[in-house]
Symmetry: C2
Subunit: 148 residues, 2 copies
């Protein structure tokens, strides 16, 4: 992930937004945000709970509810990525990643693309009357290792 901002700046931004919007600052919140900031790709609830920093610190239900609150406040984003489980990624303003997923081994990579979809968003808004649009773009295929 491009480090235009440091971990500390990201964390402080996220916590500030959350506090402004009525959430309390807790240890679990900080640990979860740090885990998501450190991640180079979206993570599932199970993956996040598997991390030592979090599993020693809080319950799965807590992480689950935190993810919901953080998403609601707009500091993280929930993604589908074609799997049964939901994936979550840190959402720093102005940063947007699309993803590349191997349909064989499940590997997920973030793509820092010059994404032409942003232009489309406006068109879709005009055409459909939807507001607050954002998009999710994923590429699926077989990675070189899986093709052999």
């Amino acid at each position: 992930m491009a480090e235009a901002e440091t971990t500390k700046e990201r964390l402080e931004w996220a916590i500030a937004v959350c506090r402004e919007r009525g959430l309390r600052r807790t240890r679990a919140m900080e640990e979860l945000l740090l885990a998501l900031i450190a991640a180079d790709r979206p993570r599932t609830l199970a993956e996040l709970c598997g991390l030592e920093s979090l599993s020693e610190q809080c319950d799965k239900a807590t992480v689950y509810r935190l993810l919901g609150r953080l998403q609601e406040k707009g500091v993280i984003r929930r993604l589908g990525l074609h799997e049964r489980a939901a994936y979550y990624a840190f959402a720093y303003p102005g940063e947007h990643f699309d993803y590349l997923v191997c349909t064989d081994c499940g590997k997920i990579e973030a793509l820092d693309l010059e994404c032409p979809v942003e232009t489309l968003e406006k068109e879709v808004m005009n055409r459909t009357g939807f507001s607050g649009l954002y998009h999710e773009l994923e590429f699926f295929g077989s990675c070189p290792q899986c093709v052999g």
Copy 2:
């Protein structure tokens, strides 16, 4: 859904592909394909099983396994769409839809966009070595009814 091809043509195409690739032609397969061809947006397993034509005809497990086989043979496509459940859509050659999802009421619309992402697919293949690429693009936002 734009009806460049009739239901019958679509059905026959799908069944021909399936038979070529080793699947048997069954009543359940036909009903399921017809349901997906008739759908104006992707459907979940539960939705499909709720249809009279299917529920009276076959079990949920059968539909589930059929969806897997049909996807494997390439006549339908499995989508994420941000929900817990997987969505399935008919995949006629040369047709590709992107989707618009209301984050408030869950409404899903198919968008027949001039999609600039196809160009990106080649770039991503070259850059990453992935093969057999396809993409999934979804827009999320609030529909006019939900904004009120």
